[in-house]
Point group: C2
Chain length 257, copies 2
């Protein structure tokens, strides 16, 4: 295989907010691969896989800036100031995040800090876990006749608080990040919002790693499932009743289960 075309080298003094995808090299983008392989400094979250980190240059400065399980040993302000300082020192700095960098992360604060400091930066999108889970399960996120919308939500907004699943009704496929371990509460909240007990649920754990797992059940049986190890993404496949008619069953059919 030839090296990818169009993979420009990194620029010293620039920060790259890079989506690492769910974990495997296979699901890195070409641009992320090129940038990771040539940057002089990597600041990464806990969830980024060892496989992805192995792309770093041997002499690159690699630093885990993850905030583990709500224990903020490293503050967002520290991460911001390191990004800026390393860039001003002449490093090409990769700020590496699991999945896509602009979904459910602290990118907004990092972008604001970089802008204030007049540090040039580029954002490189990644494959978010929901898309990887759907692909692995071979279950389309939308159907032509059944549900035609997809909602990406999280149950965990910040340390210690949940916003629950208020207002999330079965009009869209639901992709739930950071669901926590209280599967009974999730089933109960969704049920109260009108989700059928027959709703297909998909639970994907540690995607892109060797311990990757994918389980499926209906909403009624979700409370009995043993919680899978984090990181977990859950999918809930609603079928709209309003549209009615044929095709919904075959639209929804995956072939993994």
């Amino acid at each position: 295989m030839t090296p990818p075309a169009g993979a420009a080298a990194v620029t010293p003094g620039t920060v790259y907010l890079v989506g690492a995808g769910p974990g495997s090299l296979d699901l890195l983008t070409m641009r992320a691969y090129a940038v990771l392989s040539s940057a002089s400094c990597l600041l990464h979250d806990d969830l980024v896989s060892a496989e992805v980190l192995s792309l770093a240059l041997p002499h690159a400065l690699v630093r885990n800036v993850g905030k583990r399980c709500g224990k903020k040993t490293i503050t967002q302000e520290e991460i911001n100031s390191w990004m800026i300082q390393y860039a001003k020192d002449g490093h090409s700095v990769v700020r590496l995040k699991s999945g896509d960098p602009l979904l459910f992360g602290r990118a907004a604060e990092e972008i604001a800090a970089l802008t204030d400091a007049a540090v040039p930066f580029e954002v490189i999108p990644g494959v978010s876990a929901g898309f990887a889970a759907a692909a692995l399960a071979r279950l389309p996120l939308t159907g032509r006749i059944s549900n035609s919308r997809v909602l990406f939500a999280t149950r965990h907004l910040s340390a210690g608080s949940t916003n629950g699943l208020a207002g999330i009704t079965p009009e869209a496929t639901l992709v739930l990040y950071m669901p926590g371990r209280d599967y009974a509460a999730i089933a109960s909240e969704l049920g109260a919002n009108g989700w059928s007990a027959e709703t297909t649920c998909l639970v994907a754990s540690a995607l892109g790693t060797e311990s990757q797992r994918l389980e499926s059940c209906v909403l009624r049986d979700l409370p009995a499932m043993t919680p899978l190890p984090a990181p977990v993404v859950m999918m809930f496949y609603a079928v709209e009743n309003s549209g009615g008619g044929s095709g919904a069953d075959s639209d929804r059919r995956g072939s993994m289960f």
Copy 2:
């Protein structure tokens, strides 16, 4: 740069449902790149870029199976039967779709057909246009304090019908695919659903191509914008009022505009 590790060759007789991303090689996944570069047969949609198609082997059978602008010169049933026939003839078949293969496409029907025909297949996710547009605009899809959900929807369900934007309220960032050219109707429908006239709108056209364009305005001014050439994806950035408080402004700040 060394060739990517873990990029397995394709298997004859297998179909690969591949997401091509928004158009540039940079945003292809490593796995998509490897599969595209080694498959013997490619069946692609209209929207897949020439740059991506240029990866095909010189002797590969490449066929455009796009259904242009509602003119169904090629039916879904024909696409299904070609995929199956080429695979049974011993080809490694890539079914190439713009963006992610499981979002807003006909993957459900293709998966059902492949399953019925007992043809082995793999789904390879891609970077959907909404993520690419957000990255280009450097506008996070979610904020920590402001909106924490993202809804992917389409205004165009099937030829000649729109489902409008019924029920889409400003509790989630809205990513709208196939919005059509009636920007005034979109603004009016969202306004009726409670979206503020000050909502930031992003309109991205022909992402990943040389004619790529990105425009921004507030919802009030959307009706006056000249519609951009398809394919277009629109983003609407709501800010929740319920959370209240500081941080929302800086959370929402992009630095492109």
